[in-house]
């Protein structure tokens, strides 16, 4: 009996030691990073088409600020911002796709909430767009504020989003009875609202602004001024790979900090000789900023050169397309916004 026990304990000890070694080794080199480098592309989950965030053109080229996060990761770990495989996902499918390992980064205008971060096996790495839920109505209805909503109003929205929950909180707190009409795909919501099935269409305000451009006649619709919730949108990774999480987090941070220091895709190379050590660190000319991730030293330079800084990405995708020309809270903290990232050093 005791002999067996002894054998058993030694077996356990051996397994424990082995386990300790493997985790030690894994900390140095992330499994997801290794797989990504082996495959030669970053597997990225995006929306099924939201202008400004992730949208494919007729020839299948993806653009948008969410898309740029994935491109930044590809530039950092593979050296080429184009080495991304995009998987369009519905709101319902997105988290399962990530936790099941079908994708490695989810950049799909996803709201960071406690329950999502804690429950589902996901980790949010940052915020690339500060948003809030709003309402769109037909101009002809004469409604200019949510205060004019009355009992019996019908509201079109998506299923499986925080929108559905916020909407209920909003109408309940005001004691208004409403008819929720929830579709699986954003295009179906827009089609139903546009046809007159609903009096109002509710989702994140950036989404409203983007979808408005898809309507039969965009000028007939207005977005009401009120914001009923906080919707910090950001990229998400699977729980359990701390190094990969850091790579995605700092790829995004690099873009934002590059804007803060005035580094753009066109002047990044010349910044290598800057006098400011923080700028030099951001373009890989000082320190060992990539070693901790298992990357080379110019990973951040490649992001800035190939994708650009956050301001460039915003301008290209959201401002110039006429979706939200005003950056609002998504301006740098130094310019009155709330974009503030920890320093890369």
């Amino acid at each position: 009996m005791f002999k067996h026990l002894k054998q058993l304990t030694s077996l356990f000890a051996m397994i424990a030691v082995l386990f300790a070694f493997t985790t030690e080794a894994m900390a140095k080199k992330s499994k997801t990073l290794k797989n990504t480098q082996k495959k030669g592309f970053v597997r990225c989950g995006v929306s099924q088409g939201l202008p400004g965030f992730s949208n494919a053109d007729a020839s299948g080229n993806w653009t948008g600020i969410d898309v740029d996060v994935c491109r930044a990761v590809a530039a950092a770990v593979l050296g080429d911002a184009n080495k991304v495989k995009f998987t369009p996902l519905s709101a319902k499918e997105r988290f399962t796709a990530l936790t099941s390992g079908e994708i490695d980064v989810l950049a799909r205008n996803t709201t960071w909430t406690l329950s999502r971060d804690a429950d589902i096996g996901l980790t949010f790495v940052g915020v690339n767009f500060y948003d809030g839920q709003g309402f769109m109505v037909r101009k002809s209805s004469g409604i200019t504020s949510v205060d004019q909503f009355k009992n019996g109003i019908s509201a079109c929205t998506n299923i499986g989003t925080t929108t559905e929950l916020n909407m209920r909180d909003f109408f309940n707190s005001r004691g208004i009875s409403y008819e929720p009409v929830a579709f699986e795909k954003a295009d179906e919501v827009v089609a139903a609202y546009d046809a007159g099935r609903c009096d109002t269409y509710t989702t994140d305000k950036s989404g409203l602004a983007a979808q408005r451009t898809k309507m039969k006649n965009p000028d007939e619709h207005i977005v009401l001024p009120e914001t009923i919730s906080k919707e910090p949108l950001g990229p998400v990774v699977r729980q359990g790979d701390a190094v990969w999480e850091d790579i995605v987090r700092w790829s995004l941070n690099t873009m934002i900090e590059a804007e803060e220091y005035g580094i753009t895709s066109s002047n990044a190379d010349s910044m290598k000789t800057s006098d400011n050590p923080q700028i030099k660190r951001l373009v890989g000319a000082e320190g060992e900023m990539g070693a901790a991730f298992g990357l080379d030293n110019e990973w951040n330079l490649r992001i800035i050169k190939q994708v650009g800084n956050y301001g460039e990405s915003y301008k290209r995708n959201i401002a110039d397309t006429g979706i939200l020309p005003d950056r609002g809270p998504n301006q740098l903290w130094t310019k009155g916004g709330i974009l503030y990232v920890p320093p890369a050093r």
Binding site: G121, I159, L165, F183, E184
Partner: protein, 383 residues
């Protein structure tokens, strides 16, 4: 001995294989979920659902639990399936009989109907009814009444609701009438067997079922009022009907598409059943002096039903399973609400998909059992 092993061994291997496959997938799922920090469990069912549903048969509010949301969504699925089965049966029988008509026009239009609706994918038909056909309906403020009191609009079909007083008296009268009719039929059959005399069962039944409930109004103190839908202005150009009952366009489109599509298959089952009865039966029945109606009712149909029921059961099962396409047009059925919203909010993918699959399996098995029982009842009894 050798034979025994030969018999048992394959069965044993099969069982082992099944156990192994199940075990492998269970352990695999467990390991993966552990690695990703996902817990397995059904505790979420008692949590507050905190989302609303557009259309429910029972009282539901976001404060209720996920379990209650599941029940309410399941009822929505059953409602669509039930309505679909009723309509597709009626339509299917009519079209099936019409295909055998002597009239060239009726015969050919029935054939065209079947070929048309059978060969277009169901999802497309649902989209057609929801996005094209119902979209052509007027907004509430422009709606003209149908039958004077109901309004068909893009936001739904509004009908008056009934407000009863002493409903229980009315219901007892109705039940009494039905019981009386059952007794009448039994009695009439006895009379016919003993004396060969036929009682006018149909007329007496009709009289019973109209007169008894009518009496409840006259002397039972039963009253019935209607609450009419009334147009209400929400904003300058935004109107809605208030009062009465609102049938959402999602429900209408879904029932329409499901019953039109499935009725074509039912029609073919009915046609096959009738054609499966040999001509001699009909001729023999005619030669003993039965009228064409009696031939259909007493000779052809009882035999045809035996051929019709089994394949029609399949169609009912298909309709029920196809009702899950509701998710495409925002009808809050089990798939949209439970395997959609609830799955999203809780992240319990394996549990919720498992429950949903088991639910559909149970519904299908229940329908199959019911139809098998009916089939047993009408099948030839060897004496």
């Amino acid at each position: 001995m050798n034979n025994k092993i030969k018999r048992i061994l394959p069965q044993l291997l099969t069982i082992l294989f099944v156990v192994f496959v199940f075990g492998f997938f269970t352990i695999n799922a467990q390991v993966n979920m552990d690695n990703r920090g996902i817990d397995f469990g059904f505790g979420f069912l008692s949590q507050e659902a905190s989302f609303d549903m557009q259309f429910t048969l029972l009282d539901y509010d976001g404060q209720d639990s996920y379990l209650w949301a599941y029940v309410v969504a399941l009822l929505n699925t059953l409602l669509v399936s039930f309505l679909g089965i009723i309509f597709c049966t009626i339509l299917g029988v009519v079209i099936g009989v019409a295909r055998l008509s002597q009239n060239f026009l009726i015969k050919n239009s029935a054939a065209w109907y079947v070929e048309f609706f059978r060969n277009i994918p169901l999802l497309l038909q649902i989209f057609f009814w929801y996005y094209a056909a119902l979209r052509a309906l007027p907004l509430p403020e422009n709606a003209q009444p149908w039958f004077g009191v109901t309004y068909m609009t893009i936001k739904g079909y509004y009908i008056p609701s009934m407000i009863w007083e002493n409903l229980n008296v009315f219901m007892s009268c109705l039940i009494a009438a039905i019981v009386a009719i059952i007794f009448l039929r039994v009695y009439a059959k006895k009379i016919q067997e003993r004396e060969g005399k036929q009682l006018p069962v149909l007329y007496i039944s009709l009289a019973l079922i109209t007169i008894l409930p009518l009496l409840s109004f006259l002397i039972g103190g039963v009253t019935l009022d209607f609450e009419m839908p009334v147009l209400k202005q929400l904003a300058q150009t935004s109107f809605i009907f208030e009062g009465g009952i609102a049938l959402p366009p999602e429900l209408i489109a879904l029932v329409l598409a499901l019953s039109l599509y499935t009725s074509t298959f039912v029609a073919e089952c009915v046609r096959a059943g009738i054609q499966g009865i040999s001509k001699g039966q009909k001729e023999a029945a005619a030669s003993v002096g039965l009228t064409p109606n009696q031939i259909l009712k007493l000779v052809i149909m009882p035999q045809a039903l035996r051929i019709i029921i089994p394949p029609t059961t399949n169609q009912y099962l298909n309709l029920t399973k196809n009702s899950s396409l509701a998710a495409a047009i925002a009808y809050p059925d089990l798939v949209l609400v439970f395997a959609g919203t609830a799955l999203m909010q809780t992240g319990k993918a394996i549990e919720i998909v498992g429950i949903t699959m088991l639910t559909y399996l149970s519904i299908s098995l229940a329908i199959a059992a019911l139809m098998n029982w009916y089939n047993k009842r009408i099948e030839i009894k060897e004496k």
